[in-house]
């Protein structure tokens, strides 16, 4: 997570210096420090005294110019200080021209620092934004410490190429980087609030908690869905969501689930495609999805089916199965295959006249997989609905 902030600073600084044409004045100044004494010594200002300009620009010799040295700190996240850098680097410290000019250009063709020189001297053998995560702090302070940067400056931070990797948003992408670096590299551009744009639904990972707080960090928006959320993910997210609840809660909160998984919603927003009402018979009969996870049969299906005549109120009399003349005597297969559909119109009493062992015709409804002794042990009361007190052992 190399510092994209530096590219912004680079763009800011790489522009030709405005206001003062160094080349035009090259004959006047033998050295840089004659005007920028602060680059070599601690106490003087980095900027020239405006009085020295007025020596020529007095309105007679040259036209008057009005210039004042900047009083506010430079909008930068560079940790660079000329004097300290020179003292630390000693003999290896570059000359002014080494950083502020490009080879081949005339003397005093001054520009803002050439970033590649920094990378070269510090032996960072990559393009600026592709530098390793551990390299950011070489030149940059964290966002929190870069107090002069405005929210807009932060918004203009470019993303390094590593952030474009398909799995960068995954646990193995930025998650691994942040865990390894414990936020040190991330902190150059990011603060805790940035992470909370997505890590909303659960306690924050340690790497996030390590970051300092800085509301400016939300100027960068992190709203892209991870690669796993490809097309049709809504249809197939069930297993992953069941297995990876912790992962989901990194970005989602419970209300997100309730947008679709809303019990008995008359029309839950989003889950079913437009027009699903028209084609729900085929989908529901063969259980394309588990309808009863969200729709209670009694409150939802039966209430509507009854108004459409699809109901068996006390007797098998609706005539729904009118395309099968002897459906009643041969309904077993259809019932075992589509029992959830049957109970959207039928209640238990419709079946007991034939299937009950007490007062019924004793047609055995138990089929493949039925474990009588287990069922008897788990809920004896249910068995008595058909068997009365004489529930068979097996």
């Amino acid at each position: 997570m190399i510092a994209p902030a530096s590219l912004f600073i680079l763009a800011l600084l790489q522009q030709p210096a405005q206001g003062f044409d160094h080349v035009q004045h090259k004959a006047l100044f033998p050295s840089c420090t004659s005007c920028h004494a602060g680059a070599a010594q601690e106490r003087p200002s980095l900027w020239p005294d405006p009085v020295s300009c007025a020596a020529c620009h007095d309105g007679a010799i040259e036209k008057t110019v009005v210039w004042r040295a900047p009083t506010s700190p430079r909008r930068s996240n560079l940790r660079f200080d000329h004097v300290a850098h020179g003292a630390k680097a000693g003999g290896k410290s570059p000359t002014c021209a080494g950083c502020h000019t490009v080879a081949g250009e005339p003397r005093m063709a001054v520009r803002e620092p050439v970033v590649q020189r920094c990378l070269d001297c510090h032996e960072i053998r990559t393009a600026h934004l592709a530098a390793p995560d551990s390299a950011c702090a070489t030149c940059h302070v964290s966002l929190v410490r870069a107090a002069s940067l405005t929210r807009q400056d932060v918004a203009d931070f470019p993303a390094p190429p590593s952030h474009a990797a398909p799995d960068f948003l995954s646990r193995g992408g930025h998650g691994a980087v942040s865990r390894q670096a414990m936020g040190t590299a991330c902190a150059t551009c990011h603060a805790r609030e940035f992470c909370y744009q997505c890590h909303a639904g659960s306690a924050p990972p340690r790497a996030i908690a390590w970051l300092a707080s800085d509301p400016r960090s939300t100027a960068l928006l992190a709203r892209a869905a991870p690669a796993s959320h490809g097309d049709n993910f809504a249809d197939r997210h069930g297993t992953e969501a069941a297995a990876s609840t912790t992962t989901c809660t990194g970005c989602h909160v419970r209300a997100d689930c309730l947008e679709c998984h809303r019990p008995s919603g008359a029309r839950a927003a989003g889950y079913h495609p437009d027009g699903f009402l028209a084609r729900h018979p085929a989908s529901a009969y063969a259980r394309e999805a588990a309808c009863s996870d969200c729709h209670n049969v009694g409150a939802f299906c039966t209430a509507c089916h009854a108004r459409a005549g699809l109901v068996a109120e006390g007797l098998l009399r609706s005539g729904y199965h009118d395309a099968r003349r002897f459906f009643l005597v041969g309904h077993g297969q259809a019932a075992r295959q589509g029992l959830e559909s049957c109970v959207t119109c039928h209640a238990e009493r419709d079946c007991l006249p034939c299937h009950s062992a007490v007062g019924g015709r004793r047609f055995n409804p138990h089929g493949p997989g039925f474990d009588a002794s287990r069922m008897r042990r788990k809920n004896f009361a249910m068995c008595t609905a058909c068997h009365g007190a004489n529930v068979p052992e097996r």
Binding site: S228, C301, F326
Partner: protein, 495 residues
């Protein structure tokens, strides 16, 4: 419970550091469709219809219960009109002076202005989906109140408490929860009359519920297990007892293998299960898998003892972004039910089926999206074949308009009715302010029901929908953050 939440919210309101998020979602619909009227005729007055069965003199096929003196049939009834207005409110409040403490509520109020009760889900008039207090710190979350817990065993509602402990560094998390359960797929207790329109079997007391979950999440995958038992306190017998497992492995970038299954400890059989291999890149998304589905019935009904049989399916889907502006998609599934082990010589029913879908979405320019699809499915009980298309104009502004249409042929296996349906409509959305959205929609269902007798009572109807969504809160950043954050407990400012 409702009173407790209201009092909690009122008490909390004067606190200076309090923050809140409220989302109101109101939806009004108007619908009118032809109803049916149950009628009868003496057996002696019936005539022989064109198909050889009994019919009324004016042509309605009738059903004559064995030994009954009367035969029954449906005539077209009065037009059923409904005008339901459903409002859902989500609220989160924090800042009670204890860091990590917050309160949440989701409630729904429904009323049908026609008083006809023609719309499902409007009973009872006020439903509390969730209302709980939450205390969360890095290693622990505790909740008390009405909660909804979604996992592979379903959406489980209960009034009670839950505690989650986690070790984020190792990716471990465990939860235990318990209380009085709600009915499946409803925000109502199982004793509610609204869940028993047919006035049949219904428990007299709410079930007691106890569940536990544990999971591990790591870079290479996730795994999770769940256990849930529900007990009827009146009889001291199980209502259900199930366990579930699910896992995802990510062996390489873009690849995933997911699998899950649940086992019904009460019935002694495997429930639903699935396994899939997935592949995702920026231009291709696909999966191939198998799944099995078996319905689950609580033991306060007798349905589980009727041995519902599962089906097993092979399925695959792929979506390819052929060009940056064009995506094509296809999906298919073939399934087959296990042998039901019943002898029914007079009635044959399909035992297998399939589903398929093709579609294309194109956005040739940024503001326009065209979508077309073709779907076909065939299986036990019902089949359908249909096409659909839509055009959406969504400029870089606060509004969007969609025109959509569809044609559908949907024969039902067990009925004479074969319905040919045309659907066309328009939807509009305008968002004058980031926290405020209005939607309007109108759709016409034009049905041609084919049946050899006058009982071809069509289902044609207009539906008009108006919707307003309002999100407000104490922060000034609601419009810039994703929905998850706008609703998150405490908001980012609290962290």
């Amino acid at each position: 419970m409702r009173r407790t939440i209201v009092v909690a919210l009122l008490i909390g309101s004067p606190l200076s550091a309090q923050g809140y998020r409220v989302r109101l979602d109101g939806r009004f619909q108007a619908v009118g469709y032809r109803g049916v009227q149950l009628d009868s005729i003496p057996v002696t007055d019936t005539v022989t219809g064109p198909s050889g069965g009994p019919a009324t003199p004016d042509g309605f096929a009738v059903r004559c219960p064995s030994g009954a003196a009367y035969c029954l049939f449906f005539r077209p009834g009065a037009v059923q009109r409904g005008a339901p207005f459903v409002t859902t409110a989500d609220a989160s409040v924090w800042g009670f002076g204890v860091r990590g403490l917050s309160a949440h509520a989701t409630a729904r109020a429904a009323v049908d202005f026609t008083g006809s009760d023609a719309w499902p889900g409007t009973e009872s008039a006020i439903q509390l989906l969730a209302a709980y207090a939450d205390y969360s710190v890095e290693r622990l979350s505790a909740r008390a109140g009405r909660q909804l817990n979604s996992n592979r065993l379903g959406t489980i509602g209960f009034d009670g408490a839950s505690i989650t402990v986690r070790d984020g560094r190792r990716g471990l998390e465990a939860t235990i929860y318990g209380g009085w359960g709600l009915a499946r797929g409803a925000a109502l207790p199982v004793t509610s009359p609204a869940l028993n329109p047919l006035d049949d079997f219904q428990p007299g007391r709410r079930q007691l519920l106890l569940g536990a979950e544990a999971g591990w999440s790591g870079r290479i995958g996730d795994i999770r297990g769940e256990y849930l038992r529900e007990v009827d306190p009146a009889t001291d017998y199980f209502v259900s007892e199930r366990v579930g497992f699910a896992g995802v492995a990510r062996p390489a970038p873009g690849w995933s293998v997911s699998a899950g299954a649940d086992y019904d400890l009460a019935a002694g059989w495997w429930g639903s299960a699935e396994a899939a291999l997935g592949y995702t890149t920026r231009s291709v998304t696909g999966s191939l898998g198998v799944r099995r589905y078996r319905p689950h019935f609580d033991l306060w009904t007798i349905w589980g003892a009727f041995s519902p049989v599962p089906y097993t399916a092979v399925q695959g889907q792929v979506a390819i972004r052929a060009l940056p502006q064009v995506q094509v998609r296809a999906r298919g599934e073939r399934y087959r039910y296990n042998d039901a082990e019943v002898s029914a010589p007079l009635v044959t029913v399909e035992q297998s089926g399939w589903r398929s879908e093709l579609g294309v979405t194109a956005s040739p320019v940024a503001s326009w999206t065209f979508d077309a699809g073709y779907s076909r499915e065939f299986g036990p009980g019902a089949a359908s074949v249909g096409t659909s298309a839509s055009v959406t104009y969504a400029p870089t502004g606060p509004y969007a308009v969609t025109l959509h249409g569809a044609a559908l042929d949907r024969p039902l296996e067990l009925r004479f009715s074969e319905s040919v349906l045309h659907v066309y409509g328009i939807d509009g959305r305008v968002e004058p302010h980031p926290g405020l959205r209005f939607e309007i929609g109108a759709v016409r269902y034009a049905e041609d029901r084919r049946r050899p007798d006058p009982a071809a009572i069509d289902w044609g109807q207009w539906r008009v929908t108006l919707r307003a969504v309002l999100a407000i809160g104490s922060g000034d950043d609601l419009d810039r953050l994703p929905p998850a954050v706008r609703r998150m407990p405490g908001g980012r400012a609290e962290r």
